[in-house]
């Protein structure tokens, strides 16, 4: 996946010299995960900039760069440190178009790895997507495959709306599906049916999609046919795609790494019960982390929902009745 991201950045920078990449350690080092490896050598220090260590000014100056006519791609080294820029993202990035009544477009992409499972030091691994889906004016995407990583990034960079583009820390290097060499886009706001099934709809995004797929495989051996939806895009949300699946299965499980209370799963539950109420055969369930801070690495496997837990909860869901 990381190669797909790097390739996309290179292609876009090649095609459009207004694209600049800024962030911590993105230049000489090529990013701590090497997503920008080689870009500075190719496009120069002016377009791939090692910024001072201050997320607020990285995002805030990105707004200014965009208003000057450039198309910045900002790397936040970890979404955990998006908090340091939250005032710029939440109050400024997301609202500039609205506040200027359409005068200022903000073609800005903020890329950031997030989520757990790779034993990072403390405070690096929270799945904070819900803070940003609760920020009108900002689009939020979270690819799970290398193919989508490339296509969604291209679409995000093409868009005149600001996009938060979330990359799964787990799977960054492991996810290796086929990626075409040429440029293509994956539309923002369209889910992907990762696996077709008839009994239960299992909704996930980012790294959790892989867990969902593996659980679905096990469940099929137990005779439960699970349809896995990879949302890809949290805002805009593909409500039609979700409804189609729920109409077919009547049972829904939502899987996320973030804590339960206030997580994006709650939004999905509310939307589905409103849109698909008469299709539902059982209460919608959420499979998530507990309502506690992201822990140290030694216990993170107990925190993040794993395949066994998803299997057990979906088995119960398949038996439940309304």
């Amino acid at each position: 996946m990381i190669e797909a991201i790097r390739e996309c950045l290179g292609q876009e920078m090649e095609a459009d010299n207004r694209v600049v990449v800024i962030g911590e350690d993105v230049g000489v080092l090529g990013g701590v995960f090497r997503a920008t490896d080689g870009l500075q050598a190719r496009f120069g220090k002016e377009r791939v900039v090692d910024m001072p260590l201050a997320e607020g000014v990285i995002v805030g100056s990105g707004i200014g760069l965009a208003m000057s006519g450039l198309r910045p791609v900002i790397e936040l080294q970890f979404l955990g440190f998006g908090h340091q820029a939250f005032h710029q993202i939440g109050q400024q990035v997301a609202r500039l178009r609205y506040r200027s009544q359409g005068r200022h477009a903000l073609p800005l992409v903020i890329r950031s790895p997030f989520g757990g499972g790779v034993r990072t030091p403390e405070l690096h691994s929270d799945a904070f997507e819900a803070f940003y889906t609760h920020t009108p004016g900002l689009k939020v995407v979270a690819p799970a495959t290398a193919y989508d990583a490339k296509g969604l990034l291209a679409a995000a960079m093409e868009s005149d709306d600001p996009v938060l583009y979330l990359e799964p820390l787990k799977g960054y290097r492991l996810t290796k599906d086929e990626v075409p060499d040429e440029r293509y886009t994956v539309p923002l706001g369209k889910l992907r049916v990762a696996r077709e099934g008839a009994d239960v709809t299992l909704i996930a995004w980012s790294a959790a999609v892989n867990v969902a797929e593996r659980a679905a495989e096990e469940l099929s051996e137990q005779g439960i046919s699970v349809e896995v939806l990879d949302l890809r895009s949290l805002n805009p949300l593909d409500i039609v795609g979700i409804s189609e699946s729920v109409a077919k299965t009547g049972r829904v499980a939502i899987l996320h790494e973030a804590p339960l209370t206030g997580g994006f799963g709650g939004e999905l539950v509310a939307t589905i019960q409103q849109e698909c109420f008469y299709s539902l055969e059982a209460p919608i369930i959420r499979i998530s982390a507990p309502d506690t801070p992201y822990p140290l690495g030694g216990v993170e496997d107990l925190y993040i929902p794993d395949v066994d837990r998803v299997v057990a909860e979906v088995v119960a869901l398949a038996k439940a009745s309304a």
């Binding site: 260590l53 908090h83 990072t120 030694g298 993170e300 107990l302």
Partner: protein, 361 residues
């Protein structure tokens, strides 16, 4: 010693130092007794032993990502040795192992933290420190408030907060200096300029000639010290502590040193570091320098060195043994200490998690 080297009067031409690169003291008196130097050197050696141990354990998968102190031992120990653990506070970043140990944080807890066990975070009740900080610069406002609060309540405790040149680019640093100046808070901002923030060189953090001179803009005194010179760091910090204790406010200390190791165990510095510069700094090794000083005093020899090394190794081994024998955390560790009065929903989750994972561990 006059205070004229403190900003705004100080022209940052060269950092304040007491020892030559080969460990010869200038003509003045040493700010530390020989015993104090020996004690400090032992902490520096202890740090090397720990860093080596931790790094090799990380390679074997028994330790998490870990940042060593390599090259910065005099900087950290020199600062810490100016503190009184019974009343002064440390508000750390993550690269200050010997300061925390001297202050009373158990080595085994430090190890457990990096082994990923939440129990490692436990700070004994009489140890005056805040948890290690991973979110860069976030500790600096907290140190400022802590110092301000101590002063408000009439105590004479002083707070020192450690952070890197990189962290000093965050707004939290600037906002804190500003507030500390206004409140005359008894806080020492100990900025370790080790040349790098991961791969980002110091030049990308500031266009100023020094970090120390940033203090001027906040009405705070700043000073630049040779961070590989134990005596100089100790002396400057001691002055800043005395000043703060006497109610004369905060100080920004820029300790000029060099990270001669990797940023952390996940980092590959060969991708960005200038080999010549690295070698230049390796020549200025702070441990060798203070050993040379003790040699010049006639109180350092190979026997003593071996004796100290053995005792450091024994101390680290004993702590690692405790860490190894500490049971792995159970799912309760996710929930304990999150609240004083936990919401019922979380308690229900705690029970569910224990039921589900109880047998596994």
């Amino acid at each position: 010693m006059s205070e004229s080297r403190f900003l705004p009067n100080f022209e940052p031409i060269a950092p304040f130092s007491r020892l030559t690169d080969s460990g010869i003291l200038d003509s003045g008196e040493s700010p530390m007794s020989d015993d104090a130097v020996l004690e400090a050197l032992r902490y520096m050696m202890l740090t090397r032993v720990f860093d080596d141990k931790a790094t090799s354990m990380q390679r074997q998968g028994r330790f998490g990502t870990f940042s060593s102190v390599r090259g910065q031992e005099a900087s950290v120990v020199g600062a810490a040795s100016a503190l009184d653990p019974t009343k002064d506070w440390i508000v750390p970043q993550y690269r200050e192992f010997p300061a925390l140990i001297r202050h009373g944080y158990p080595i085994e807890n430090f190890a457990l933290y990096f082994m990923g066990n939440p129990k490692g975070g436990t700070i004994p009740p009489n140890v005056n420190m805040l948890p290690m900080q991973i979110s860069l610069a976030a500790q600096i406002p907290q140190a400022t408030g802590l110092a301000w609060g101590l002063k408000m309540q009439g105590g004479d405790g002083v707070v020192i907060t450690f952070f890197g040149d990189g962290a000093s680019s965050e707004g939290d640093f600037h906002e804190s200096l500003n507030l500390a100046g206004i409140m005359k808070a008894p806080v020492i901002f100990f900025l370790q300029n080790n040349g790098w923030a991961i791969s980002t060189p110091r030049e990308n953090q500031t266009a100023a000639r020094s970090f120390a001179e940033r203090a001027i803009g906040y009405g705070v005194e700043g000073v630049m010290v040779d961070g590989n010179d134990l005596l100089a760091v100790h002396e400057v910090t001691k002055q800043a502590v005395a000043k703060a204790r006497a109610g004369r406010g905060p100080t920004l200390i820029e300790s000029v040193t060099y990270r001669t190791g990797a940023h952390n165990t996940a980092d590959d510095p060969t991708r960005y570091i200038d080999q010549q510069e690295l070698e230049k700094w390796q020549q200025k090794d702070p441990v060798e320098r203070i050993k040379n000083y003790l040699r010049s005093r006639g109180i350092w020899n190979e026997n003593l060195e071996q004796e100290l090394l053995d005792s450091c190794a024994a101390q680290i081994d004993a702590a690692m043994e405790i860490a190894r024998n500490t049971p792995l955390a159970t799912s309760d560790a996710l929930f304990d200490h999150v609240y004083a009065e936990p919401p019922q929903r979380m308690l229900d989750q705690k029970r569910d998690w224990a039921n589900r994972n109880g047998d596994a561990r």
